[in-house]
């Protein structure tokens, strides 16, 4: 069984990956823009926050700068696609690759440790909560605030224009929506959220590392698709809640898989488990509708 610490740890990283899933929801679902920039913008957010905190910045300001850096990375990807007409997937791979160098430059070395530095978590440890509960509570507040803001945005005139851009670009243009600008705004917003996730991850783990972005896109997608399998995303708010639930369920599933001695799995099997879970999340909803179809046909 899962220890209390492992359980809270899964919640903590689940909430952070929930933010990543929000970002991936905006790019993949709202804009229909397969964006792999996140593998670079996640460590970018971590690097910017870590370096600024080491430089004596207020940790919240440093986190804000990480969001802006992530947005800039997203904007580069979108502009490569919109202005230079590079295929969206390829544009995002180019930015992702470039960010590896950028992240090394920002940190000046492959990793920056934040041990003993003041982070966004520091003040909350004085409240008398258990050590491993603090990040969960803080990140939960952050996730809920972001969820409400995103939900309001998606219901706004601009948000609706963004949803139309992804769903039916020709119709969107005919309604006077500058679809190119909407893609830039959306992909920037998406990567801003991923930058935020990277910054929080670095602060809770106590370090930023240039390789910490590897596979973030898969984890985010796993969370998104898993969440959609659990909670049908018929409305924006349900889709956003599904992102968070999916991320937490994903982390818990991983923790269980690694903790269950009977299965004999080890930490190095993580990526394999991820791939299996994503496959299941993609296939299972289809199986469910097939079974439902068969049942209704028998009744009829």
């Amino acid at each position: 069984m899962l220890s209390e610490i492992a359980f809270y740890g899964a919640l903590e990283t689940g909430l952070i990956y929930g933010l990543v899933a929000f970002g991936i929801y905006i790019s993949f679902r709202v804009l229909d823009f397969p964006d792999l920039t996140v593998d670079g913008s996640f460590p970018l957010g971590a690097a910017v926050a870590a370096v600024l905190i080491m430089g004596g910045w207020n940790p919240w300001l440093a986190t804000g700068m990480a969001i802006i850096a992530g947005m800039a990375a997203g904007a580069v990807t979108a502009l490569l696609n919109v202005k230079l007409k590079i295929l969206n997937l390829l544009a995002s791979i180019l930015t992702m690759i470039a960010l590896y160098s950028v992240n090394l430059r920002i940190m000046g070395r492959p990793n920056v440790a934040l041990l003993g530095e003041e982070t966004v978590l520091t003040p909350w440890y004085e409240l008398g909560l258990k050590f491993h509960q603090v990040p969960v509570l803080l990140f939960m507040v952050v996730a809920v605030v972001v969820l409400v803001l995103l939900w309001r945005f998606m219901k706004s005139e601009t948000g609706l224009a963004m949803r139309a851009t992804g769903a039916n670009p020709r119709m969107a243009r005919a309604q006077g929506i500058a679809t190119g600008s909407m893609i830039v705004l959306g992909v920037a917003l998406s990567n801003g959220l991923v930058g935020l996730a990277g910054a929080l991850f670095a602060q809770s783990q106590g370090a930023a590392d240039v390789t910490m972005g590897v596979g973030v896109i898969v984890i985010g997608l796993a969370s998104l698709i898993g969440g959609e399998a659990v909670l049908t995303p018929s409305t924006v708010v349900r889709a956003l809640i599904a992102c968070i639930i999916g991320a937490i369920v994903y982390r818990l599933a991983i923790a269980f898989a690694l903790n269950a001695d009977a299965l004999g799995l080890k930490a190095q099997d993580l990526n394999l488990i991820t791939a299996v879970l994503v496959t299941l999340a993609i296939v299972l909803p289809g199986v469910r509708t097939k079974i439902a179809h068969r049942l209704t046909r028998k009744q009829a």
Partner: protein
């Protein structure tokens, strides 16, 4: 008023597939006119509409809408003046958005969009009133997803969306062609009603010569990227499909070889 002067447009220039779609196309549509446009496949009807809407930019020539030169403007910058209904009933609306969200998108056509809520309470009466004029019961289904509606219903809503805010010209691109005959008649009647009551200026491309003569106040025939004839008023009244064919053959010394024009 809109005027197009000497529009030239060639697709795939310099390639073996070079295709001149517009070859000196000129047309002026006055305020309040309802023009029907016919022509065989490849005559340049859809390209002309796309050029007016901004979906394609012409190689040369000039397009003026209400005294503003829009020739080089992209679609979204013309949207405040140009409203459009597509041939494909699925193209004019977003199926994943609700009916009220689609209408809310249309009510801001060509205007700047901010961060206030898109579906506002003050729109509701207008949305309900215009939807109830369709007699489809959609006024009680504002929250339903657009994808739940039939093709005809979606096309009717597309028409409403196009007429929700004022425009200088309404472009209808064979908007009844993909519907079954009964639904097509309903959408066509609705089109005539909306254009008449709101006194819209409209350009309707159709594949049917009969339809082209039955509705509207003026008929234009395109051939090989040009206007081959343009009739209105007394000259047009009482004209039948066979007269139109005769006119076409006389003008061009050509036989109409597109059966769908005759059968439609």
């Amino acid at each position: 008023m809109i005027s197009a002067t000497d529009l030239q447009l060639t697709f795939g220039k310099g390639t073996p597939l070079e295709n001149p779609a517009l070859r000196g196309m000129s047309l002026t549509v006055n305020q309040g006119e309802f023009v029907t446009v016919i022509g065989s496949n490849g005559a340049g009807k859809s390209t002309f509409l796309n050029a007016l809407a901004g979906e394609v930019l012409v190689d040369s020539g000039k397009i003026v809408v209400d005294n503003q030169d829009v020739t080089r403007l992209p679609t979204h910058k013309r949207a405040n003046r140009v409203a459009r209904v597509f041939q494909d009933p699925l193209a004019g609306t977003c199926e994943n958005l609700s009916i009220e969200e689609n209408l809310a998108l249309a009510i801001k056509r060509g205007q700047s969009r901010g961060l206030t809520s898109a579906v506002k309470k003050q729109y509701m009466k207008q949305f309900r009133d215009s939807l109830s004029s369709l007699n489809l019961g959609l006024e009680n289904r504002l929250g339903d997803k657009m994808g739940l509606l039939s093709g005809g219903q979606r096309q009717a809503v597309s028409l409403l969306m196009a007429s929700l805010t004022p425009s200088s010209i309404l472009l209808l691109d064979e908007h009844t062609a993909a519907l079954d005959p009964k639904t097509a008649r309903f959408v066509l009647e609705l089109t005539e009603h909306i254009i008449a009551t709101q006194q819209l200026t409209a350009l309707m491309v159709t594949h049917s010569m009969k339809q082209a003569l039955e509705v509207g106040s003026r008929t234009v025939m395109l051939h090989q990227g040009q206007v081959v004839f343009d009739i209105s008023g007394k000259e047009r009244d009482g004209l039948e499909v066979k007269d139109l064919l005769g006119l076409f053959e006389k003008q061009r010394g050509l036989q109409v070889d597109d059966d769908s024009l005759l059968l439609g």
